[in-house]
């Protein structure tokens, strides 16, 4: 039976092959080509499920395999894959979401002339993410990490003719690259500090997990923080969250893929994989928790003031990722992975639902929507389930996972808990706002909206089901999930307090939203009329983009221009001066050549005198 794990490497290879085929075929592949991508992702899904089945049966041992990639004298850099419960879980999530997105895109993208290119990108994206998940060491992970980044760049910039898409794609890549630098330096540090220059996760676990003190505290903290920087970039944590909302310029299925299962999950997954390093350093843990908690509430508040349906969802993603980081920071791997797991489904559901809406009304501004619930019943229903899950209303999946996170937070520090609860309240509020504005009330603007085709609604239904049931794998009453994933890890048991408070926060948020946006008993400008500055601050996302522009982009541009001037006038100027000094001697000579014989003679005589004086003078020097 263990033989199946040996073929785990095929999981990412299927979509990679699809990418190669589609690229080779070029645009000629057309819609037929799209099915190649879908089939490949189906193959990945099937294989992942089979792997999962084997692991669930409990008989399989962890399997890893690797080969030497580069040999450089004493060092060997190897690549490889590893099959554990964690990786298999991620494989299933990624390949499932990826398959559903594939399916959905057949409907969403059917009129696009570059549909085969789109599917090629998606295939590469899935492949990279699957590869990342399977990685057995940090180097392998880094390689796929970067590939994920570039794929997201390609997909975000898919509508390349739109200047916004171009800018967003660029931003996505560059901002995440800041994090990548952290990760790269962390890898370099680990390479030189680890015994035998090893980068495998197993070895990392052995070295850091056992607290042998091989690596000093300072270095451990540094490594952990640098790895976290990578995760911050990828998972859109403050202060590198700025790319994520902009990434909504890509086609909506891509947003689902990026936000639900692939790119953003990579950061959390990375921290989970190297969790031993973090656990070895309290400072790093605190940093993770603080950043996570702050991001959770920070993004949630921004989400309150946005009007673009996808941007709201994007900020909710940032916020939810903050929860996951918070969970990690307070030492609950299970909580983080659990929330990641459930979030993958309901966030994919929400994005695909949003896509369905956009597909129908051709706008993304929620102020121009309304009353869609009657025309798009499936979409509305499934979206509602997703929204409830996100708001943390039992029995939907999000409730259980958020609960786990909050429980861990409360145990660690009540402040984290309070922040988490407030963020949960905001989450419920903006989701209610979103839902009621879009689906309730009367139509504003687009009127001829209709339900999407089956190829789009089926994935919605599947995800809706998952959004309902996925939470039951880990409840306060049964902790099967955590034990399966992280055997031996201690978990906090959710207390009644946590459950009650979180439910109340969620319901309160929804109620308030209903009052404002559906019932209309509270005026919408109740806040904006009193505190216009605050609303403006939220609408402009706390001016973080502007701040970056002011602090980094402009100075860099200025520095570049300055260096350009220096390069032209100082560096090259020095070269020119050297050249001109040769020329100047030449000019001097030319001036001497006046044609006057006697000038020549006089020059010669002066030269002779100088020479004689110099030679003689040398003696007395």
């Amino acid at each position: 039976m263990s033989s199946l794990a040996e073929y785990a490497w095929l999981v990412p290879v299927f979509p990679a092959a699809a990418f190669a085929v589609l690229t080779a075929m070029g645009r000629g592949a057309g819609r037929g080509g799209a099915w190649i991508g879908t089939l490949a992702s189906l193959a990945s899904l099937v294989l992942s499920l089979m792997l999962a089945g084997q692991r669930l049966s409990g008989t399989a041992v962890e399997y890893s395999n690797h080969f030497d990639w580069i040999r450089a004298g004493g060092f060997t850099l190897s690549l490889g894959y590893e099959v554990t419960n964690l990786t298999v879980l991620m494989l299933v999530v990624v390949s499932l979401v990826s398959f559903l997105v594939n399916l959905y895109s057949h409907g969403y993208m059917k009129d696009d002339e570059r549909i085969s290119t789109f599917f090629a990108y998606v295939a590469l994206f899935s492949s990279s993410m699957l590869g990342l998940v399977l990685s057995y060491n940090l180097l392998t992970m880094y390689i796929f990490w970067e590939l994920v980044g570039v794929c997201s760049f390609l997909l975000v910039g898919f509508y390349f003719r739109k200047p916004e898409a171009k800018a967003a794609a660029k931003k996505a890549f560059i901002v995440t690259r800041i994090g990548d630098i952290g990760l790269l330096i962390a890898i370099l540090l680990l390479f030189w500090y680890m015994p035998n220059h090893s980068l495998d996760f197993t070895e990392i676990h052995n070295v850091f997990g056992t607290q042998t003190g091989v690596i000093s505290m300072g270095i451990t903290t540094l490594i952990a923080l640098l790895i976290f920087l990578g995760a911050v970039g990828k998972s859109g944590q403050f202060p590198l969250h700025v790319w994520l909302p902009d990434a909504m310029e890509g086609p909506t299925p891509i947003s689902a893929l990026i936000h639900a299962a692939t790119m953003v999950a990579a950061g959390v997954f990375l921290v989970t994989r190297t969790f031993d390093i973090f656990e070895a350093s309290q400072a790093a843990m605190t940093t993770v928790a603080v950043i996570g908690a702050f991001t959770a509430i920070f993004a949630a508040t921004i989400g309150l003031a946005q009007n673009d349906i996808k941007r709201i969802l994007a900020y909710s993603t940032v916020s939810q990722l903050g929860y996951m980081m918070l969970a990690l920071g307070v030492g609950s791997e299970t909580g983080a992975m659990f929330h990641l797991f459930t979030h993958a489904f309901f966030k994919a559901l929400l994005f695909l639902g949003a896509g369905s809406v956009i597909h129908a009304v051709h706008t993304q501004d929620i102020r121009e929507m309304g009353g869609l619930g009657r025309k798009m019943k499936i979409t509305a229903g499934t979206f509602g389930i997703g929204a409830l899950a996100l708001s943390g209303i039992p029995p939907f999946a999000g409730f259980w996972s958020k609960d786990a996170v909050l429980a861990a937070a409360l145990e660690a520090n009540p402040i984290y808990f309070i922040v988490g609860v407030i963020a949960a309240f905001f989450t419920a509020l903006y989701m209610a706002r979103l839902f009621f504005l879009v689906f309730a009330g009367s139509p504003r603007g687009a009127s001829h909206a209709h339900e999407s085709p089956a190829v789009m609604t089926v994935p919605l239904l599947v995800l809706a089901v998952l959004a309902v049931i996925a939470g039951f794998v880990q409840t306060p009453f049964s902790e099967w999930f955590g034990e399966w994933l992280f055997p031996g890890a201690e978990e906090e048991h959710a207390s009644v307090l946590v459950i009650v408070v979180s439910i109340v926060a969620g319901l309160l948020g929804i109620y308030l939203g209903w009052l404002i946006y559906a019932k209309g008993s509270v005026r919408r400008d109740v806040v904006s009329s009193r505190m216009p500055g605050l609303v403006r601050l939220l609408e402009r996302k706390y001016y973080v983009d502007e701040l970056y522009d002011l602090v980094f982009v402009r100075p860099l541009g200025g520095l570049g221009k300055l260096l350009n001037v220096i390069d032209d006038y100082v560096v090259d100027g020095a070269v020119r001066v050297v050249g001109q000094s040769a020329s100047a001697i030449g000019r001097l000579n030319t001036r001497l050549q006046s044609g006057q014989l006697q000038t020549y003679a006089l020059t010669a005589l002066i030269g002779l005198v100088i020479l004689a004086l110099a030679i003689a003078g040398r003696r007395f020097w």
Partner: protein
């Protein structure tokens, strides 16, 4: 020895006068003559050394004979060239011989 010094001084003075003439005189003929003056300074030197030198020998005098002869040939050629130049320039002013320059 005293004798030698005065001869050498005289020769040096002559040489310098010649050099001065070459550098400053505008008339080409005088320039040529100045060159001859320098050569004569050499002759004086040679003969002084031949008589009062460290190791007096006849060679110096022989040398000066050669010098005189050759200088005469040189002067002849010089004047001939000057004549040719005068034909095209109608001037023997050295300052005006500056068509070749830069």
């Amino acid at each position: 020895m005293n004798m030698l010094a005065s001869y050498l001084t005289l020769a040096a003075v002559l040489f310098c006068i010649g050099l001065y003439g070459v550098i400053t005189k505008r008339n080409a003929i005088i320039v040529l003559l100045s060159v001859e003056l320098m050569l004569n300074a050499v002759n004086l030197n040679l003969i002084a050394f031949a008589k009062y030198g460290v190791q007096p020998s006849i060679t110096g005098q022989i040398f000066s004979l050669f010098t005189m002869t050759v200088a005469a040939a040189e002067a002849a050629v010089g004047v001939a060239i000057l004549v040719a130049v005068y034909r095209s320039r109608a001037s023997v002013n050295v300052d005006e011989f500056d068509e070749l320059r830069r």
